[in-house]
């Protein structure tokens, strides 16, 4: 069995999600003037984190199934 590509994709986007979300929480609100006053780091961080976790979830489930659950 080759590398399940969903694993690195899920991992990378989860990391990006956490980074952006965290930065969105601590960053100064003034930098969001250009993004129409929306804290885009926070919101897009959430989107990326969800995407990453879904990918990870699929990868882990496939791995579990391969080990042979009863």
């Amino acid at each position: 069995m080759k590398l399940d590509l969903r694993l690195p994709i899920g991992l990378m986007f989860s990391i990006f999600g956490v980074m952006l979300l965290g930065f969105g929480v601590i960053s100064d609100a003034a930098i969001y003037q250009r993004s129409l006053g929306i804290n885009v780091n926070l919101w897009w961080g959430v989107v990326l984190l969800i995407f990453g976790l879904v990918m990870l979830g699929f990868a882990l489930r496939a791995r579990g199934a391969e080990r042979g659950t009863p």
Partner: protein
């Protein structure tokens, strides 16, 4: 333009991405045991992975930057590159051509030409293709490094060196498997990195309706009908009523038929991804699965350019910096938009997406180059009959010198702009007629080796002669056309000129190949051509497959959706 300052969060995102790219290369290195693993990923890719890689390899930085630039310059008509050009061609390659490419077990497009026609046709295609891949990866490296220098103040040498080293490392380690896996990663990154830009931009201009209203100002200011920037078909009745300067026939034949089918059906850079698929059905589904996201890409790559020009026209002082000739510098549409909307954090993600698109394009070129070099040039003409290990080693070496040649090309582009433009033009002449050769080769068993080879030469010659006798409005005589001394016609735009060059090259090659084939004896018997020509190959039996895995069904669905999009944005 003012330089963009990156924060540490932006560098951190870029760093994480680099770590993953290299990490994938490191993990998959153990799959490489023989040359087919290195060059064709062991023909083991599931259709969805091959499909996303098929898409990503084409989505280089020049595509992202260039499509946004065209979106700004020509508006919604740019979508024809997708909805009229790419998608129908992708359906055609999946349904009609993959059975021959994959079924013949050819390891490359030039090798198919050898099996179908003869050695000289293969040699001609292999050598021009190898030259073109190195040149285009060099030129896109140059373009990216220049852009990063301009907007981020990064050192040109550092950008070239760093990007070359990373691409080198992951291809060297894992060959095509590594390139394909990374292309899938890059695909998601490009989509998720550019999407916030599109969403913010559309929200800012008031959605599609707001964008249309602003674009009508752009159109009327430039002397075109109101909807010229926001509709794709409505203003194609004459070349004078749209900014692209083409009428429907030149567009449909030149772009829709010759150029798009020529690229998607014969360019080994994309076809290689489908050849790496795990089975015949997977290979046939690869371009079809790729077509589904592809049809939505105009929203991702063209709309940002349209928003940029809309803001440019309705903001006092403009948004895009002026180029040397006073018109807006359309190539800066993407970086300007990134800087305009994205704060630190998302800005890093957007730039990483730009880097990802660059790397996927460059890796596509390098993997196609090392395969064609090793199988079609080295194994065929320099040292045939060696062990598989020997060719695997050559593949590693070809990766290194392919990238080295790209770097040289990138530096040559900084010093000898004219030579680079000239080489690109020559390759365009060689490519324009190629689709006629494949079409006849796959569907007419009477086509001969001499017919194919001399037909190609005639088509290439016709392209050069046409280009030399015509010019586009306002262009200087020389590389832009007219170099043969007499001007027979002046096209309203460079694009119209290119479309017609392609049409003439294709037609000449088509007619010449038929004529010469009829005058020469067949060099391949019906037996030789089994699996290579439509009428001599058993039909694919798909009745046992579920409907969503049948290539023909998928093809019809894809074409139907594309038709809907064309009508929606008529």
């Amino acid at each position: 333009m003012p330089q963009i300052d990156l924060g540490s969060i932006d560098y951190a995102i870029l760093g994480v991405y680099f770590a993953f790219v290299l990490g994938i290369g490191w993990v998959v290195r153990r799959y490489v045991r023989g040359s087919e693993d290195f060059f064709l990923a062991g023909r083991s890719m599931p259709a969805w992975i091959a499909g996303l890689a098929f898409l990503s390899a084409n989505l280089g930085a020049q595509e992202v930057i260039g499509m946004a630039a065209s979106g700004a310059k020509y508006g919604m008509m740019t979508s024809h590159f997708y909805w009229l050009g790419a998608i129908p061609a992708m359906v055609f390659v999946g349904v009609f051509m993959m059975p021959f490419y994959y079924g013949s077990r050819a390891r490359s497009v030039p090798e198919y030409l050898k099996l179908r026609f003869d050695e000289k046709t293969r040699g001609f295609n292999a050598i021009t293709f190898a030259g073109m891949t190195v040149l285009s990866s060099g030129i896109s490296m140059y373009a990216l490094a220049k852009l990063l220098e301009l907007v981020l103040g990064w050192n040109f040498h550092m950008s070239v060196g760093l990007s070359a080293l990373i691409v080198l490392a992951y291809i060297f380690l894992g060959g095509l498997t590594s390139a394909i896996y990374n292309e899938v990663l890059q695909f998601f990154l490009i989509v998720l990195g550019f999407l916030p830009l599109v969403l913010l931009g559309l929200r800012d201009v008031g959605g599609w309706d707001g964008l249309t209203a602003r674009l009508s100002t752009v159109a009327t200011n430039a002397g075109y009908p109101e909807g010229a920037w926001s509709s794709s078909w409505r203003h194609l009745d004459s070349a004078a009523s749209n900014p692209m300067g083409v009428e429907w026939f030149g567009l449909a034949m030149g772009l829709g038929f010759v150029l798009s089918f020529g690229y998607w059906c014969t360019d080994f850079l994309v076809v290689q991804r489908a050849m790496a698929a795990e089975s015949m059905t997977a290979a046939r589904r690869t371009p079809l699965l790729a077509a589904i996201p592809k049809m939505l890409f105009p929203a991702l790559v063209i709309v940002p350019g349209m928003i940029a020009i809309a803001l440019h026209a309705t903001t006092p002082g403009g948004l895009l910096p002026a180029g040397p000739d006073g018109t807006p510098n359309y190539n800066l549409a993407v970086p300007v938009m990134l800087a305009h909307y994205l704060p630190s954090g998302l800005l890093g993600l957007g730039l990483t997406a730009l880097m990802a698109s660059f790397m996927s394009g460059m890796a596509g070129n390098v993997t196609a180059f090392n395969t064609v070099w090793t199988y079609d040039i080295y194994q065929s003409y320099i040292r045939p009959g060696q062990t598989d290990r020997h060719y695997l080693r050559m593949g590693h070496a070809a990766t290194v010198f392919g990238i080295l040649l790209s770097v040289i090309a990138a530096y040559a582009a900084t010093r000898f702009n004219n030579i680079m433009d000239m080489l690109q033009l020559i390759f365009a002449f060689v490519n324009a007629p190629l689709f006629a050769t494949f079409l006849l080769g796959m569907f007419w068993r009477r086509a001969t080796g001499h017919g194919a080879f001399f037909g190609l030469l005639a088509g290439t010659g016709a392209a050069a002669v046409h280009h030399g006798l015509v010019i586009s409005q306002g262009a200087p005589v020389g590389l832009k056309g007219g170099f043969l001394g007499t001007l027979l016609h002046t096209y309203p735009s460079e694009m119209a000129q290119n479309f017609w060059t392609a049409i003439i090259a294709w037609t000449t090659c088509f007619v010449a190949t038929i004529a010469i084939s009829l005058l020469t004896a067949r060099n391949k018997s019906d037996d030789d051509l089994k699996g290579l020509v439509y009428s001599l190959t058993p039909r694919q039996q798909d009745a046992a497959l579920p409907w969503h895995k049948r290539p023909a069904t998928l093809g019809v669905i894809v074409l139907g959706l594309t038709l809907v999009l064309n009508i929606m944005f008529w």
